[in-house]
Homo-oligomer: 199 residues x 4
DNA sequence: AATGAATGAGGTTTCATTCAT
DNA sequence: TATGAATGAAACCTCATTCAT
């Protein structure tokens, strides 16, 4: 029995992995269930054995990745004794996460606006995002206590940084060249965010 | 003759206005041409009299709004004698623009990824975005000469701020409450961006 | 009054001429009323002042050209003293007519099959085709009396030749090169039709 | 596995059969996919499971029938020892083919003129038509060697006969009654083609 | 008489989801 | 459990025709 469940879990993960790749490379609407099944190497119906829905599949992916992110933040930021390193790590993690999953997150928001995401699935995501935010708040709170941050409400600060990183990774307009060197971008962002743009 | 053209222009603007509202409230895919026509109070075919395409309609909207933005930036930033005010205005304009048109812009990017935006229409948008960026660069360049900005390549800085504002306005996850007070957000952003988060 | 009518006639002819060109170059369905109007240099509505219908326009064209053909056949065949020359002329006229107007004729038949051609318009065409056929029959009848044709019912022979020329000019498959030399085709046809393919 | 494929093939054939009937009775444009589906007794989408396109469906039909024709010509003409019988058979086969499929062929040509037939599908048809023509050429070549045909280039002769039969079967104007006795038409054509119209 | 803006019926195609095997 | 054939709703777009000016 446990063996069977292990196998199921494995298959579910496989599907999720493949879907992640596809949803990351193209908008949600441009990826068909057919294509996912073909890529996974299973029948179309099989996908519906593991996920209620195309939207459910999307939600599960995000949930999984958010879980990983929370884990990383907890380890590298929350439990990190050095405040500056903690903040630094936080910025990098945010950047990498949003950069990697921007397409997917944006798809999810879009589906949500169209009321295609069931309440129960939404809650799961909201909870994880809440946890993530709380951890950031905790870090900034510590910064306030140590008087090493500008005097701003920690919660607002956390929200702001979250927002900033969301779109700083959005595959937007203008020349593509800028997107091509993440290293530069993140270091530039850290510079601006820690020192401001004024000399 | 001029009267007729005036009327046509008026009608085109009316359609554009209505479409702007709808595309702003919901993703592109969730708005049907039928609905736009109904809202305008005309037949479906009429829309196609003024715009080649649903995608063309979207592009025209953006082009129109970008034009306005460029005009404002030129006036309030480029031609502003005081550097700090110029930068301040720039940040506010960016924020308002992306906040107001984020849904639309995001729709456009998505359609572009699916190769639904004709080359010629894309160029129009790209040109305007280029102009906008150049103006920002010019402002930052001046800041560098006056030694009032951190020593960072102006072009990169402009790109970064553009990116930051794109998503800082993205109607993303988490609690919606945060989105509800733009005034607070923009002042917080300006604080962080000018002074950095470290004390 | 007569002047006005002359002008009307002239305009009607102009529209017919332009439509003829367009319907000859592409299938009926692929030519829009807009395009005809643009090419003529008048408004779309104007066309409907002179013709009830797009199908009516098509019918009128054919009627006009058929009239010309009947005229030519009467002159060059029916009133020609020399039987062989009469037949020869008939073959050439048929060939040129069907070659020039095959697209249009084929369009008309198609529309008729879709019941888009009003009874009254159809009759006009049928009458002219009847006249044309009768003339051919008359020529062949004479040939029979002079015992210079194979003993076949004249009516059937006329119908057969008509049919042969219809499709011998149809812009069909295979290499296009063959179509390119009408002179060769017509002389070859005449050879085969007068002597048969057997040596 | 083979069973499933057999069933699929069967269904594909069923659809093709029904479509053949409909496209034969009316022009391509006048037959809707809905109608085909209804006639077959399946959903609209099912059609697209077996054929990429409405145009693809049309092309497949023609390809299938051309294949049969090629097979018949090979058997009854190319491998026939008696030249006259071979030619006779060829004329009959041509007549029957074009008479039966004229509407469809004409539709195909029309769609091609409107660039609705993909290159790859066109090639398939062209190839088969090429094969068919080559076989006719071979027969006539033999006739030339045996000095039993008028001294005309075999290729041109084959093309001419092809053309003649195409349109001799076109459901054209005039009284329909003539069309009603194929036997008479074909015998008359053979008479004319073998002996010419002159006595 | 001439115009051309407005209309909306109608057709093709896609694709998430179901369900019999 | 796994499959993939079947489905049909839904959306975009075209274009002949009308009619107010």
């Amino acid at each position: 029995m446990s063996l069977k469940e292990k196998e199921k879990e494995l298959k579910k993960n496989l599907i999720a992995e493949v879907a992640l790749q596809l949803f990351s490379s193209r908008p949600f609407e441009a990826v068909t269930v057919d294509e996912i099944a073909r890529e996974v190497g299973c029948g179309k119906g099989t996908i519906y054995l593991y996920f209620k829905n195309k939207d459910h599949l999307l939600t599960c992916l995000i949930s999984r990745e958010l879980e990983k992110l929370c884990h990383d933040i907890e380890e590298q930021c929350l439990h990190n004794a050095d405040l500056l390193t903690a903040i630094d790590n936080y910025l990098v993690l945010q950047f990498q996460f949003f950069r990697g999953y921007n397409q997917i997150l944006s798809s999810w928001v879009r589906r949500r606006l169209q009321n295609q995401v069931r309440e129960e699935w939404m809650e799961d995501i909201q909870n994880k995002l809440g946890r993530k935010l709380e951890m950031a708040v905790a870090v900034f709170e510590r910064g306030q206590e140590e008087k090493r941050l500008i005097p701003v409400e920690s919660y607002e600060l956390a929200r702001l940084l979250e927002a900033i990183f969301q779109d700083a990774t959005f595959p937007f307009v203008g020349e593509k060249s800028w997107d091509s060197d993440p290293e530069r971008i993140i270091s530039l962002m850290k510079l601006v965010l820690t020192r401001g743009i004024l000399a």
